[in-house]
């Protein structure tokens, strides 16, 4: 057990070391979400009537936070696919280390990167008018939620990265997963404007319940269309917790199994 923790810590440390050796990595993974904040805030902000005090930016920030942590999946998948392609996973698997340490170390490392990214986004959001109206504790809780969600999504990335085994394929594959997931949601525009059948999909989407949970924690009201009154719309917080547990319960064992059978192309 002690070995397992220290093995995972070595892998996490490797990722943080990468960031210090290639500072551009951290720079660009922070600039991108900030760019999204500014683009959405000023491009869509004017034309979407939110009916909420404080304007679009209040609704946007939780959405963009969730989108960003959902994209953790891509970072994990691409990173692991690259390790796979270069034979690094082979080397790790030839070492006397716990079978899950490498992937857990990776997901924790990617999760840790989110702390930096979310902080930068929060500051950028504040600068363009984002003002949560809830208590400091609730805001803090919201960020904890976001980090756990990012960690859960990262496990889906493990499975994708180890399955596609090539960096460039991983980049494309994750886009196909994450884009519909984050856009077919309430993150950027209210679901009430979508065709009715799509509203069901969008409102049951884990990204939507996460966004709704964060909005609640940041002191906003949620609007639901087709599923108004149902469990996820009434209890986005609880529903999000269920989703996170579900994602981890499915993808952690699958990912670890995949790692153990991983074979370089």
């Amino acid at each position: 057990m002690i070995n397992f923790i220290s093995d995972a810590a070595v892998i996490t440390k490797r990722q943080l070391l990468q960031l210090s050796r290639v500072p551009e990595l951290l720079l660009f993974s922070t600039i991108q979400p900030i760019m999204f904040v500014l683009l959405f805030r000023y491009v869509f902000g004017g034309s979407i009537d939110t009916g909420q005090p404080g304007g679009y930016v209040q609704l946007l920030m939780p959405g963009i936070f969730v989108q960003t942590v959902a994209f953790t999946l891509a970072g994990t998948a691409v990173g692991l696919a690259a390790d796979m392609q270069k034979g690094l996973i082979d080397r790790f698997r030839s070492l006397p280390i716990s079978r899950s340490a490498v992937v857990i170390g990776r997901t924790l490392g990617d999760g840790a990167l989110n702390i930096v990214v979310l902080t930068a986004m929060g500051v950028a959001g504040y600068a363009v008018g984002w003002r949560p109206t809830s208590s400091l504790f609730e805001v803090f809780l919201g960020f904890v939620f976001l980090l756990v969600f990012g960690f859960a999504m990262s496990w889906i990335g493990v499975l994708i990265g180890l399955s596609v085994r090539e960096e460039r394929v991983a980049t494309n594959a994750t886009f196909i997963v994450v884009f519909p997931l984050t856009f077919l949601s309430n993150a950027f525009a209210p679901t009430t404007g979508m065709p009715k059948p799509l509203q069901y999909v969008a409102e049951w989407n884990p990204v939507s319940t996460m966004v709704a949970a964060c909005r609640e924690l940041f002191g906003l009201e949620n609007q639901f269309g087709a599923t108004a009154g149902s469990f996820p719309s009434e209890n986005p917080l609880q529903m999000s917790v269920i989703y996170m547990i579900l994602i981890m319960a499915i993808f952690i064992p699958l990912s670890i199994r995949k790692y153990n059978n991983a074979a370089k192309k």
């Binding site: 050796r21 290639v22 270069k86 034979g87 082979d90 080397r91 030839s94």
Partner: protein, 330 residues
């Protein structure tokens, strides 16, 4: 004692369509070097991957340092080092970072890891490059660092999968020097290669594999005898053929081969360049200037030709499966 034993290993890919290993048997005596020689797709890498616990065979058994690879892979991992065809190190990190990371993953203490990293960097002439990212290393330096990473725990058995493939001649020479030193240190080594010259230089014994099976095995000398070893070849004008036949027969001491059409006389020799010089001197004394004179070393193709009757097929697994698919399609 045998440090490595593989018995009847069978491994197929694509649901049996591609047979990578077809009942492969081999063993390595403790403290010796076995060179596994074969063309691409012969099953070299698959063999190494199975022995290094990365892959399970469909059937067969394997032990490394007396431990069952399939039953106790974790125990085996504590005793082996693996360095592959591709330098499996983190390129964004420095050489130092990499060695520290792998040392920690082998559960050495922080102090012991640092000490070992310093030793290895020194041993592999990488001390000056220690603080540079691997990205900036030459191909040869990367391989050396990769090898260093696999030696952190002083493994009992070391697997090197094509350690010099893709290196320039200088890099290859450096790598050979490094491996020579290791072997002198007493490590048991299984190395795969496509180059007869490399197996000849580094290995005590050579196993030639083709289509997932060992088709010949022995010392480099015994294999060369089978193949015919080095041959002295001289091409002369027709008028000198008779005299040169005589010279070659005297230098070689064995049966000569005459190709009248090519005006070429050849014979196996055992003394290498000495034989060449001797023959050249004799020709000079007789005032004969050959059109061509040289020593021909047996290549992988010669080995394969004499052992299998066909030339070494460079077949990749994927290509093999495509070909099979096509054949079935007909």
């Amino acid at each position: 004692m045998k440090a490595v034993i593989a018995e009847n290993l069978v491994k197929t890919y694509n649901k049996g369509a591609v047979k990578a290993l077809d009942g492969l048997n081999l063993d390595v005596e403790e403290g010796t070097v076995l060179g596994v020689l074969g063309p691409n797709g012969a099953g070299k890498t698959t063999t190494v991957r199975i022995l290094a616990t990365l892959l399970s065979p469909d059937s067969g058994n394997a032990t490394v340092a007396g431990i069952d690879v399939l039953k106790h892979p974790d125990e085996v991992r504590k005793l082996i080092g693996l360095s592959g065809q591709y330098a499996a190190v983190d390129e964004t990190l420095t050489g130092w970072d990499n060695l520290i990371m792998f040392g920690r993953l082998y559960h050495l203490s922080a102090q012991a890891t640092k000490q070992r990293a310093i030793e290895l960097l020194e041993q592999f002439a990488l001390s000056d490059a220690a603080k540079r990212p691997i990205k900036t290393y030459s191909g040869g330096m990367r391989r050396r660092l990769d090898l260093a990473a696999s030696l952190i725990i002083r493994p009992k058995v070391l697997f090197l999968d094509e350690p010099t493939t893709g290196l320039d001649p200088r890099g290859r020479q450096d790598m050979w020097g490094v491996i020579d030193d290791l072997v002198k240190g007493g490590v048991t080594l299984l190395l795969t290669t496509q180059y007869l010259e490399e197996a000849d230089h580094l290995a005590d014994e050579i196993a030639v594999i083709d289509h997932g099976k060992v088709i010949a095995r022995g010392t480099s000398d015994s294999l060369k005898k089978q193949v015919g070893g080095e041959r002295l070849e001289i091409v002369v004008e027709n008028e000198h053929l008779e005299i040169v036949k005589d010279i070659v027969a005297r230098v070689s001491g064995s049966a000569i081969n005459v190709d009248e059409g090519l005006r070429q006389i050849s014979a196996p020799v055992t003394t290498g360049s000495k034989a060449l010089i001797e023959a050249a001197k004799m020709l000079d004394e007789k005032g004969i200037h050959p059109l061509d004179i040289g020593l021909k070393r047996p290549s992988l193709d010669d080995v394969f030709l004499s052992l299998t009757g066909h030339v070494a097929e460079e077949k990749k697994e994927e290509e093999a499966s495509v070909n099979k698919g096509r054949r079935r399609g007909k």
